[in-house]
Every structure is written in C-alpha cells, then in structure tokens.
C-alpha cells in the first residue's frame, strides 16, 4: 500500500478510498464466480422495464428460476 500525502483534512476526506487487488473487490468477484459455477444460468438478452421495485424483484426471481441450467 503506497503512502499518500494530503495538504489538509479536507483533501484527505475527499480522496478516494483505495481498494487494492486481493481485497474486497477480488473477494467479491471470486465468490460471484464460484456461485456461477455452482449454479450456472442462461439469462435472456435485452432490456426490460419496470414501474416498481416489486415488479423488478418478481421478474428477477422468475428469471433466476428459469435461467438455471445444468453445470457444463
């Protein structure tokens, strides 16, 4: 992790939080990849629109069920 220098507290607060490789992002994509391997899916392609979050969540659950396919 490199040392970072700031001229003020304001500058320090405005600086992005550094996410290094191997940290949360890498763990996140690794666990998603593992999930995909355990439960592979084939999604429909394209754009779908929803009026409410409830509509979107119902469609997500339906597609997730229907998209399951046997592991290759």
């Amino acid at each position: 992790m490199p040392v970072e220098r700031y001229r003020s507290v304001e500058e320090m607060n405005a600086a992005p939080i550094r996410v290094v490789a191997g940290d949360p992002f890498e763990r996140f994509v690794r666990i998603c990849r593992r999930y995909w391997l355990l439960a592979p899916r084939r999604y429909p392609c394209g754009v779908f629109r929803f009026r409410t979050i409830e509509e979107a969540q119902a469609a997500r659950a339906r597609v997730s069920r229907e998209a399951k396919r046997p592991a290759e």
């Binding site: 550094r18 995909w36 999604y43 754009v47 779908f48 509509e55």
Partner: protein, 158 residues
Amino acid sequence: MDRDELLGLLRAFEQEALEYVLIGATAMGLHGIVRATEDADLFVRATPENLARLRTALRGVYPDDASIDEIRDSDLLGEYPSVRYYPPTGDLYLDIMTRLGEAANYDSVEKEIKLVEGIRVSVATPAALYRLKRDTLRPLDRRDAAVLAERFGLKDTD
C-alpha cells in the same frame, strides 16, 4: 459476474463521466461485505444527457448490442424508473434505476469514490445502503441491512 466485464463497465462509466452510484450487493462487496450476486444495481442521475452517457458507455462495452437503444429516456424519466439490461455475454445483468419509490434516487443517496484497479467507482456509503435496505420486504435485503448495521455500527437513526 465476470471480473473483467465488470471492470470494463466501471471503466466505461468513468470514461463517459456517467453520474451513477452503485447500490446493492456489488456496493456491499466493495465495502468488504461479500456475498454472491448475479447483478449490479445502480442509480443514475435522471437527465437526458446522463442517460445518453449511459448508452454510450454500454455501447463501448457491448458494441454489437442493438438492444441498448431500448434504454429510453421516456421510460427512465417517465413511468418506468427501473430498467434491467441483460448484455449478450450472459454473465451478469444491470439493474439501472432513476428512482426507487418516492424518496430514493441518485441525488438522495450518499456516495463515496473508491479506486478499484485504478478506476474511480461511485459507491453508496454503508449508511446509505443500510437505509435503502432496512425497510424493504425482501428477506435478503433485511439480512444485508443487519450485516451492514453490525459491521459498521449503524442504528435506525443513521
């Protein structure tokens, strides 16, 4: 969720100066609360200019996908504030929202910038994620809220 595809999207968002904020499990993952997800959820600022940036960014990543044109201003700025985009790669999908209910939108969500592989990524703060998730009905969201509260010491007043 393919690592390089996700990075490609985030890079394209930065290059096009898209005004967005990641919410949901992808945002939680960047805060160190890691669970699997199939999608990336994001709020985008609800302006025609910003939605044009979104389409340009997506075309940069998926140049042959004509369905990107179906992400319409008239939907996201009108009756359909939530659009789900399934790219042709089939490895992930995007939930793109201009608002959630009456209160939550790009402007109302506290955000911070994280650097991921050199890419500036706009992410909802843990407190903002907690507020988005704590009052929803979906059990998974309530579990997420509980984990956020525990990890970051958040309370209902946050």
